[in-house]
Amino acid sequence: MTARLLEVRGLRARYRLADRVVEAVDGIDLSLEQGEALGLIGESGAGKSTIAFSLMGRLPPPGEIAAGTVRFLGRDVVREGARLRWREIAMVFQGAMNAFNPVLRLGAQIEEVLSVHRGLGRRARRRRVGELLEMVQIEPACARAYPHQLSGGMRQRVMIAMALACEPKLLVADEPTTNLDVITQRGILELLRRLRRELGVAVLLISHDLALVNEVCDGLAVLAAGRIVEAGPAAEILARPGHPHTRALIAAVPRLPVIHG
């Protein structure tokens, strides 16, 4: 029987601070099949980013994975993290559009990923960068641009292109549209949907915005205080929310009229 794309069992993660230990994730189970899109919803501080980092097998210090397993196609992510990171699982961090090196051209930064993880030669790298930028609907000429010359939304697209450089099977996107205006946000959502369709990449979308996640994902998992309080197909959960937290999140979404054309 083929292993699931992503299988998380009993994950516990914590942060060791100077005076105490904070249990950020308190035993969660998650699973994702190939090509699926799962939305992880929760408020700030619920543990969403901690889970995202755990999927990569390593938390930034002083965080540590205390218990549980994270398996990617049957392989233990914590043990084999270095081989899986970026090649099979890629992540777009929160505020990633600001994570570019300001003194290197964007093309060079994507090429760095390609040369480290794929060992491609110069010409092959250039070609691949052009392909990637086209995939995210950015002019290939922007490879010669510096990060500050592009808008936040465009930089986010380039970040996504960089994450897809090694054709990963899973893309983890942590709040990919925060601080972007609605129109740019709509563009990124459309992009994620299209990438799923065309590349078959699975997506784990992390956000506090229920409506946003609903636009892209089939399944939902609601996170509160380090625990998953509700999980299942998005349509079902939205129609019949079980947990009061889910109901509160649904109530927070504004009702706006839909205008066509």
């Binding site: 601070l17 100077a18 210090p61 002083p62």
Partner: protein, 297 residues
Amino acid sequence: MASAPDPPRRTAAARALRRGLRGAGTSGRAGLAIVVAFVALALLAPLCSPYDPRAYTGDPLLAPSAGHWLGTNDLGQDILSELLWGARTSVAVGLTVGLLSTLAALYVALVAGVHGGRVDRALMRVVDAFLAVPRLPFIIVLAAYLGASIWNLILVLALFSWAKGARVIRAQVLSLMTRTHVEAARLFGASRAYLITRHILPEVAPLAAYKLIKTSSYALVAEAGLAFLGIGDPSTKSWGMMFYHVQSRPEIYYTGIWLWWFLPPALCLVLLVLGLVLLQHGMERLVDPSLQPGGGR
């Protein structure tokens, strides 16, 4: 229950001190200990010193003995007493130059940074002028011209060390002025004086303290160097003057005299500068939390 008032200033300061000592790390604490020891030595010199360093208490160039722990110099004065009183001069010069230089730098940086515009530009041109001047030749010439008194020396050293600090502190002031909470204070109608005392100075103080220590250690070595070159105040007893007198005696090259006449002040100078450098490290760690172990998250 009544709202919690601000904790009294004394215990807040005590807590800050304890936090500072903890955050400074082993090297910082070691540095502080060394510097405090030397300052104590300098203050207590009149009490600890066995003789008056100017008194001729024995034959010249005596080796260490029970009466003179470090022997005597070429005039018959006790070297240990010279060392202790020398500490006084060196520490005083170092600290005074540091203080004058840092106060000037702080003042200029605050005025330039908070006013901005024409005032800032004018002040920075003055700073540039001082920075462009080649320090050592100027100091030597000026010191020689003004005459070799200790106060002239302090003045000249301070004059050529304030400018860099002004630039560095001004950079931080400019950055602070763009902080949102400072803009908020401006919105309420805060005067420049209020912004400086309440928002800018507390943030800039650690950097100023760091500069103070750095300039002091520079002044310490500079004074010794200038004295060694013969531009010191011959009427004072400082480590630098000891070097000057030592190098004028050819005996040091073929007898063991240098062991007790040259080595002790040299070691003291090195040790004090080391203490100041370690203190600087401790301050860097305090000011920049990312240098703490564990990444200071």
